[in-house]
Symmetry: C2
Subunit: 248 residues, 2 copies
């Protein structure tokens, strides 16, 4: 059991508090700049809160779950072991010897319940005792704990943007194609889900299908004709088709 | 119950035969150009087969499940009601009055079992009796039957390439980023799956997250720095980031 001070009361802090308590850890206090979010979360999980940096309670570990840009402002008020939760900020964003990173790889929405077990947690620390604490904490709430250094974590975040944020952008482009033609977009959902599920057991390089993979240039030409008045979609189509062709 | 002649013995023909038989329809014969695939499928489902176009047995409906380029070669030998199963070929690829399209929107792999119920089937015919037959057939094997004209079907196919084939290409790019840095790619799978699942209940335009959506230019700049020696990925990153920004 680890005694934790939670710094922040947003989406990530909320989901982390719930998961930590469910796994038998103790949240000793919530700190947040704004009284409203601090009190909401504190009330939900029945722990004290503060909005005063001088009143932050010491514990085994402070988890700093605030916006990337606010980490340095708050961390200087914390003199006991502390971790941040950012995908992009290096370990060196924190000062002191008892510092680390505890980064759950997921996008959170405060009101949608999350099964934390399926969310990988990436940990880092140059202090071996703290690293062990973080690993123990990670495996207690998640099925997958991975030790990554700051450079790897930054690249993992980039990879997540490419595979998730950008995929969602492709869903949007394809929804636009459907809307223009009066096609119900939900027809595509089973195929989209199947595409994401397939790579659970197969490398995406083996899972590739479609006209570019087959070298079906007639279909590619037809698609480009359909997009002839839409420069943006045409450019994206050509670029991704070229990437697939290059790797055939 | 519909009596069906199956033209073709590939992935789609195989899955269609299984689903049709499970739903109480009768396959009266398999036709394939190659004796090997014809006999394999015929044996599995215990029906006669032929490789001779002159010996194709008449039935309520011929389902032509062959490569797009082979449809016209085979369809001229069929004088009874017939449909093709292509996403990109128009209805007019077939000759005669009793013609239609029966297009299941999915990628098939012969050896992986498919739950046909979840696969949308798009139907088209200018013959109202045949259209009704196709609708009945579609709802008997699938939870979702949609009537689309040839222009819509062509656009749906384009939308599927954008949202599925291209998403998979993004998974590959992100796998490459991970491999380069020694990050296990499977860390990303929960987030990829979550991204695809989210749009079951939310329009992808509302589901968008990430630095481009937030206007987090510092993170975007960092990502571009990581990609500075990889022109291909940088170009794709910039193009999709611009698309997200445009729609903020």
């Amino acid at each position: 059991m680890t005694k934790i001070t939670m710094i922040g009361a947003g989406n990530l802090a909320t989901h982390l508090c719930r998961a930590l308590i469910n796994s038998g850890h103790e949240i000793v206090q919530i700190y947040s700049r704004t009284i409203e979010s601090a009190s909401t979360l504190a009330k939900e999980i029945n722990v004290p809160y503060t909005t005063d940096t001088k009143a932050i309670k010491s514990s085994d570990l402070a988890i700093i779950a605030v916006n990337d840009d606010s980490i340095q402002d708050i961390e200087k008020h914390i003199g006991f072991p502390k971790v941040h939760t950012s995908g992009t900020k290096p370990l060196s964003t924190l000062n002191g010897k008892n510092i680390g990173v505890f980064y759950p790889l997921q996008t959170f929405n405060k009101n949608i319940d999350v099964n934390f077990k399926s969310i990988p947690v990436c940990v880092e620390s140059s202090n071996s005792d703290l690293l062990q604490t973080l690993k123990n904490l990670a495996v207690s709430i998640s099925d997958k704990a991975v030790e990554l250094n700051s450079e790897q974590r930054k690249n993992l975040h980039l990879a997540a943007v490419i595979s998730c944020n950008f995929s969602n952008m492709l869903y949007r482009l394809s929804e636009e194609v459907c809307q223009k033609e009066g096609i119900p977009f939900d027809i595509l959902q089973p195929l989209i889900l199947e595409t994401a599920q397939k790579i659970k057991h197969t490398s995406p390089s083996l899972a590739q299908t479609g006209p570019a993979k087959r070298g079906d240039f007639e279909t590619i030409e037809k698609h480009l004709m359909l997009l002839k008045n839409d420069e943006e979609k045409k450019e994206i189509y050509q670029l991704l088709t070229a990437s697939i062709k290059k790797r055939r």
